[in-house]
């Protein structure tokens, strides 16, 4: 046991926390510095947790699970509803760390907006020879059907989820961009509500920035995206249906925005206008926040046998009568090969260098880099350029020679389809495992909302945690959990949204405010009746 851990760790909860023999011991631990002990950001949290008995923790964990199940906060996995596991220990981000992260995300979203507008328009970046044309045309999610569709306020990325990780030095790096329909924001909001119920005392000791007003920002961005002429834009949320894994989120967002949650069959197109069928007749729809993949959105343009979408939707958007959010074809922007060109993209459109670096990445479609990847396959992580959820990823160090050989064949057969990265030892945060707190690897997905004037980044985000010891795969479909993510408010700032602003009026106490009481039997009566 290291001297630091024996000195710092509480008698039970943190026992053996910084065991040097743990896997990926080089990872950055967000609570403990191996030399200086507890980091400032986590000081109060650590001090509050340390005196707790394991039994306390278990009681709270049970209360937490019950609260989640009763609220129906679940995700579907292979058709089964499961509670999304929420860990007890929050993840803390200081105000200054956050402001760096926020600036980096805003920069990225702005550059990617410009990139998508260009790609589905003039393709100037290709004409200028900055990016190879083949990079775009070979992209699986480059949808030629979307060419020439210009959203009225220019926004294509209404919502972005930028996945970031902290490397061994504690620096934030972007792992991937999600520009299609990033999910998970409902868990950010619900995790917070649930944590506040179970750990009210922790919140009292921290100034945590609020995440509850996400839907307000989203609705504002969606209304701002409406076609000109829609004075009171009618926004709907389009879901594939109740069996979709993120249905809970779709319904939560619709409820919080106070808009209709619809399925494809509730909508129809006539002469390039989209209508909603209601018990009172047809109602025109101006903005569709869709959570259906491009390929299923419109059977006229994509899969003809899709029953989830709305026939004629793409041309209605082309005609400018409805806005689809996020826009069709955004997948070009989050392709992992395009990701490797992000520095060029940033420089071309904004003239800036990245505020948030990428993770070093090898491109298998460049022969020189491919050779290196194939050579070092056993030490690299190889990922498909397209796809999410952790599917298809091969961890070189964990793979058998047979798996590596198979992977080598796959890369040779489709070099465009693969990228490779060195294993990033994601940072760790204390996580309840059994009766103790143990370091577990986490990532972070902050959510950004673009309303055309500014990009709002929700202070917080979805921290996903890999529960199995040593695991670096945090996806919920791979047995991961989540943590409430606390962005601390600046000490001097008024950004403490939960308490900010002046009240509507002052309350004076006076006699008249005492609630009235009904008649009571007096004592004498009671005694006589006995």
């Amino acid at each position: 046991m290291s001297p630091a851990s024996s000195r710092l760790a509480g008698p039970q909860l943190f026992a053996g926390y910084l065991d040097p023999r743990r896997p990926h011991a080089g990872a950055y631990d967000e609570m403990f510095d191996p030399v200086d002990g507890v980091r400032t950001a986590y000081k109060r949290l650590h001090d509050s947790l340390e005196p707790l008995q394991p039994a306390d923790l278990t009681t709270r964990a049970e209360a937490l699970d019950r609260a989640l199940v009763d609220q129906g906060i679940t995700f579907s996995l292979s058709g089964q509803e499961r509670p999304f596991p929420l860990d007890l220990v929050p993840r803390v981000i200081t105000a200054s760390e956050w402001s760096r992260l926020e600036r980096g995300i805003v920069q990225r979203v702005r550059a990617l907006e410009a990139f998508l507008a260009d790609i589905y328009g003039e393709q100037q970046i290709v004409a200028d020879g900055v990016l190879p044309r083949r990079l775009i045309t070979s992209c699986e999610h480059f949808h030629r059907q979307a060419a020439g569709i210009a959203p009225p306020n220019g926004v294509r990325i209404h919502v972005a989820g930028i996945d970031v990780v902290r490397d061994e030095q504690g620096d934030f790096r972007v792992l991937e961009d999600n520009l299609r329909s990033p999910s998970g924001v409902s868990y950010v909001m619900e995790n917070r509500r649930t944590m506040a119920r179970v750990f009210p005392d922790l919140f009292a000791k921290h100034r945590v920035r609020a995440v509850g007003d996400y839907a307000v920002h989203l609705l504002r961005a969606l209304r701002a995206a409406a076609p000109p002429g829609a004075t009171d834009p009618n926004v709907v949320v389009l879901t594939p249906g109740v069996y979709n894994s993120a249905y809970f989120e779709h319904s939560l967002l619709a409820r919080q925005m106070g808009v209709e949650l619809v399925e494809g069959r509730d909508l129809f197109a006539r002469n390039n206008v989209i209508y909603l069928r209601t018990t009172e007749g047809e109602q025109r729809v101006d903005v569709i926040y869709r959570r259906i993949d491009d390929e299923f959105l419109d059977p006229v343009q994509f899969e003809p046998d899709s029953v989830l979408g709305v026939a004629g939707l793409v041309n209605a958007a082309r005609a400018g009568n409805v806005v689809i959010a996020n826009a069709i074809g955004n997948g070009v922007g989050d392709d992992k090969l395009v990701y490797t060109y992000l520095p060029e993209i940033l420089k071309y459109y904004l003239g800036e260098t990245p505020l948030l670096p990428n993770v070093d990445t090898f491109r298998c479609w460049l022969p020189a880099e491919q050779a290196e990847v194939l050579d070092r396959l056993d030490e690299l992580v190889t990922k498909p350029v397209e796809g999410s959820g952790g599917y298809g990823i091969v961890f070189g160090p964990d793979a058998s020679p047979k798996e590596l050989a198979a992977q080598r064949r796959r890369i040779r057969a489709n070099p465009r389809g693969w990228i490779a990265q060195p294993v990033v030892q994601l940072s760790t945060v204390p996580t309840k495992v059994g009766e103790r707190l143990q370091p577990r690897h986490v990532d972070l997905r902050p959510f950004a909302v673009n309303d055309g004037d500014s990009v709002f980044v929700l202070p917080g985000g979805l921290t996903r945690v890999a529960i199995p010891e040593g695991s670096l795969i945090v996806n919920s479909s791979q047995g991961g959990g989540s943590k409430d993510t606390w962005v601390l408010a600046q000490r001097a700032s008024g950004e403490d949204a939960e308490l900010r602003g002046r009240g509507l009026g002052a309350v004076k106490s006076d006699e008249a405010s005492t609630p009235e009481q009904g008649p009571e039997l007096n004592l004498a009566q009671q005694q006589q009746q006995q």
Binding site: R133, S138, G148, F268, N271, V300, P304, G312, N315
Partner: protein
């Protein structure tokens, strides 16, 4: 001397039971370039529908329309007047190293890719490579077209919308669509960027002015050998007055003249007629 042609193309579907909703896209309007000039065009549907026009990614004019009243037949009539000219062989005859230069490969990547209709095939590739020997890219286009012309037997009604170049080659017969796809497969196999062209063919070379002849919906290819130029492998002839082009793309899938979705009973195509009249 230029020709002026009027094209009246009638197509559509007949449905087994009444269809209450259908959404359609027609790609039937000829385009303009240095060989061809579109003067007028009009598209009508029965039942009548309000059309919406846009230009797609490939530069093709699309007429989109949807129907919401029950109907058992959909008829689309596309009429246009175009001026056409001959297309001489391009003066530029690029070398193989020009064609294979990284810039060309990148710029025309989409026209070098394999698709469902134009799949990669080892044997076809070998034939194409043997034809290429000792020839410039331009000569290769001509010799490949000739080979396709000689290899396939023109047989109306032999192929459905969904048969590929390889299917047609193995069957030894096909229609103009198959001739075009087979040519594309072979040109792409030797690295010549090549694209599918859909359009119309006037069937009478010596037609008198004012005479209406039965034309054809037609397909041919264009190849890039320093410049884009077309050739008609079905008839083994260069592109000239009698060819009216409508759309280009990677294969048939990008240019299909009329496609759509509907809810209701099975659809069969109604008899397609193309009337072409030489006006000048």
């Amino acid at each position: 001397m230029n020709w002026r042609l009027r094209v009246v193309h009638t197509t559509g579907y007949r449905y087994a039971t009444a269809v209450t909703q259908s959404y359609n896209e027609a790609r039937l309007t000829p385009r303009s370039d240095d060989r061809q000039n579109l003067m007028v065009s009009r598209l009508e549907t029965v039942p009548a529908a309000r059309g919406y026009r846009y230009t797609d990614y490939w530069g093709t004019e699309v007429n989109a329309f949807d129907l919401h009243t029950p109907h058992t037949e959909l008829k689309v009539v596309a009429a246009s007047v175009v001026e056409t000219a001959e297309q001489p062989l391009p003066a530029v005859d690029a070398t193989w190293s020009d064609v294979r230069a990284p810039e060309s490969v990148d710029k025309y990547a989409e026209y070098l890719e394999w698709t469902t209709y134009v799949p990669k095939h080892r044997e076809l590739g070998a034939v194409a490579r043997s034809l290429r020997k000792g020839r410039t890219p331009q000569e290769t286009v001509l010799v490949v077209s000739k080979w396709v012309h000689d290899t396939l037997k023109y047989q109306r009604g032999t192929t459905g919308v969904h048969s590929s170049a390889v299917d047609a080659w193995q069957a030894g017969e096909g229609v103009c669509q198959d001739y075009a796809h087979l040519t594309l497969a072979m040109l792409r196999a030797v690295g010549i960027p090549a694209r599918y062209v859909s359009g119309y063919l006037h069937t009478k070379p010596d037609a008198a002015v004012g005479e209406t002849v039965v034309g054809e919906s037609h397909a041919w290819v264009e190849a890039w050998t320093g410049d884009w130029w077309g050739f008609d492998p079905t008839n083994d002839i260069p592109i000239a007055h009698r060819h009216v082009w409508v759309a280009t793309g990677r294969d048939y899938g990008d240019v299909s003249p009329l496609k759509g979705i509907y809810s209701g009973g099975a659809a069969t195509a109604i008899e397609v007629t193309v009337d072409m009249t030489r006006l000048a």
